[in-house]
Symmetry: C2
Subunit: 440 residues, 2 copies
């Protein structure tokens, strides 16, 4: 069989990893694919710069159009990142009759419709295993291995940076800002970690999974989304006291024929597999109506882990598998997508940490607000206030501020938001409070 | 596209689950496959017996040859179990030009060579996702999603029954026999649980994984294999005291170009994901040279979980994916398979629990034997002996028998076996001792 020819766009961290696997392991790739896989073009902005992989002369250049128009090229692998140029290149490649592989979750979230439609129009294939959870093959898992099931729920830790930060805060009691700095120094967090910390990255990945599992097209703006930057180490300690770990959980759940979606720091019972995922590891729990729950776990980022997923996609194309799988993924949404559950109707338990004045009737005030919105209390933690010195009964203006932790029974987001509007008017509450959902 | 026609051989627990998914979810199967999937024959011994699934008239019969020779049938699904008849049916199906799906690990272990060769000769496909870890799609994971890697190691909990028993013994301190009876009552263990408890079932599954991951053909007889029936609840308690959980671990590891294989109750550090798998759940950790470690976990048995994997294989065939994947799995062993590491050269730490007379010099005797075989002690646990009454210093013949737990540093199986030959001659050791390896 004739060799399968690949053009790589981008030679950053992941691109270098992909080039290494293609060049240094050509023999084993050929064994797995049943034909040679040849890296024919590597497109970079600056072809003169030194690179972390040895490439034969002439491979490296800056002419994308030349690579896309090369009749010998079968597939374009996009690992340049960004959304505008990457979109243009992928559309050009699909229109030129090439299959494409991308690791670009932001691109698929923003321009997925257009890219998938271009693939359909041209009878081509888009592979994107590396776009969700890096080296963990959950796209193949949901799109292929669980094809005998209706997926009923997805719960996932999809952002390694935030999971590393939460793990460290929990283990050391260090403050959020300090752990972020440490994570940056160790390479676990980027110079600007906003997208990781505010849940955007996890929401983009969940949106891709939701599209495959439920046929539903969503944008991160459609989610209840909450970052981890408002949490204190004390929240993780209180959660532990209650028997929970805090995870930035991305969740999609079929509830009465509608889809509940959120990405939030969430209390997860400590004996559940998701609670035991420490450090930068990702985990995805998928519920199928036949199989029950299947878990995937592993490195959600990193050069060679992500390259592993990209190269698996390239081999799938060379074998001819991906071309069979892609048309069945229903990314065009011709089927009936599951509609979203309105945010106000999402029903969960809540954890609150308030900063309150340590004086009589504060707990009663909070319980009263919750009660009037038909939200029942499940548990309360209030530890003894720090000693203020000699005065056993300090004058009113000296009431110390103490944390008060409240866990509620299940209530809708609408009920909880209405209660929060009233909390804002309670004079005994000082500063903003922290709220997190509690996973069932 | 014309419908894809399936004949099902066997309508026991798994067969009924498969029939249910095919009959009750024909619409969604057709969406996933891009064509209808039609169950055309269901072969049973007794076509008159009542069944747990509603089938149209004429579907159920006892004539295997009629189903296999039906020119409309595309694939034969074998879920009858056993090795002799199942082998004959699968060979007949392959020779008649049908693709086959099987959930039968014992069959593949005993007659895999012959079946795979028949498939190759006839240009047909054998699918067997359900044969390993039930609903957990690890065959697709290793054979397809990690194709960009050289697999370097597999560590797995592949037998739910034994994991349930170990979990219960550890949680309750109950004796092995009592937990087995309880597991049988709850349906977690079969009436004759020998194959689960003695490691045969896990070894058969590991042999299939090893064939895909390393190209190496092995039989359970080639393994170091040890069951869980010699363990006492105290072993699990001592392991916990040392910071470990005990799991029936199936392990394959590339060591200096050779393959180390064993299925044994093994001490696993408590903070590792494998140690946290409780109850009947399975977990497979696969190390790839690019990706690092990826974990799969979920239900390794059960009617609908296993049926989920079988139906995924049927859909893969209907889509045309499986026919592309199968020839690349190198099951014929034309490539260079990794040779086995001789058992004597396997190098690990060991846990021993001896029953010893509580008198001077016993620890010294044991340490002396180990030392002469260049095995270093890592830790020792000997708790105070139970009180024998008034005598502070009982006469020699009254030495109580107490457990002595020893953990060693790494040594080869050859060294350890040589030391054990000497232990057998120490008069202070009473009865057989327990030995388990300790995972790195």
């Amino acid at each position: 069989m004739r060799p399968f020819h690949v053009a790589l766009i981008g030679l950053g961290t992941v691109g270098t990893g992909v080039a290494k696997l293609l060049v240094e392991h050509a023999d084993r790739n050929a064994r797995r694919a049943g034909r040679s896989i040849v890296l024919k073009h590597v497109i970079v902005r600056d072809a003169q710069r030194r690179r972390g992989v040895a490439l034969v002369n002439g491979l490296l250049h800056s002419d994308v159009a030349h690579a896309i128009e090369d009749p010998e090229v079968d597939a374009i692998v996009e690992v340049m990142g960004g959304t505008d140029l990457a979109r243009r290149h992928l559309l050009a490649a699909l229109n030129a009759g090439k299959d494409v592989v991308t690791a670009n979750k932001a691109l698929l979230c923003v321009h997925g419709d257009e890219i998938f439609a271009a693939a359909k129009r041209n009878g081509r294939t888009v592979c994107f295993e590396a776009a969700v959870a890096g080296g963990v093959p959950v796209i193949a898992g949901v799109g292929q291995s669980l094809s005998g099931n209706q997926i009923t729920g997805i719960e996932a830790i999809l952002n390694g940076t935030s999971n590393y930060i939460l793990t460290q805060m929990s283990a050391t009691g260090s403050a959020f800002d300090d752990v972020v700095k440490e994570a940056q120094a160790l390479g676990y967090a980027e110079a600007d970690p906003t997208m990781d910390i505010d849940g955007t990255d996890a929401a983009q990945k969940l949106a891709i999974l939701v599209r495959i599992a439920f046929g539903t097209k969503v944008q991160p703006a459609d989610f209840v989304r909450q970052g981890i930057d408002t949490l204190e180490a004390s929240d993780l300690a209180y959660a532990a006291e209650l028997g929970y770990a805090v995870k930035l959980l991305a969740r999609a759940k079929l509830t009465g024929g509608k889809l509940e979606l959120h990405v939030q720091p969430t209390l997860v019972r400590r004996d559940r597999p998701l609670a035991q995922v420490d450090g930068a590891r990702n985990m995805i729990a998928v519920d199928g109506d036949a199989v029950g729950t299947v878990w995937w776990s592993g490195p959600g980022a990193g050069q060679m882990a992500t390259a592993s997923a990209v190269v698996a996609d390239v081999i799938d194309l060379a074998v001819g598998r991906a071309q069979r799988t892609f048309p069945q993924l229903d990314l065009w949404g011709d089927g009936a997508p599951v509609p979203l559950l309105p945010i106000e109707n999402i029903r969960r338990r809540s954890y609150f940490r308030f900063n309150v004045e340590d004086r009589p009737h504060v707990v009663a005030d909070i319980a009263d607000v919750l009660g009037r919105h038909e939200i029942s209390l499940a548990s309360i933690i209030q530890h003894e206030a720090p000693d203020l010195g000699e005065a056993d009964d300090p004058p009113q203006e000296m009431h110390p501020i103490v944390p008060l932790v409240v866990m509620t029974h299940r209530a809708t987001e609408g009920q909880v938001r209405a209660a929060e509007a009233e909390f804002a008017r309670l004079s005994a509450l000082r500063g903003p409070w922290v709220r997190m959902p509690v996973a069932d």
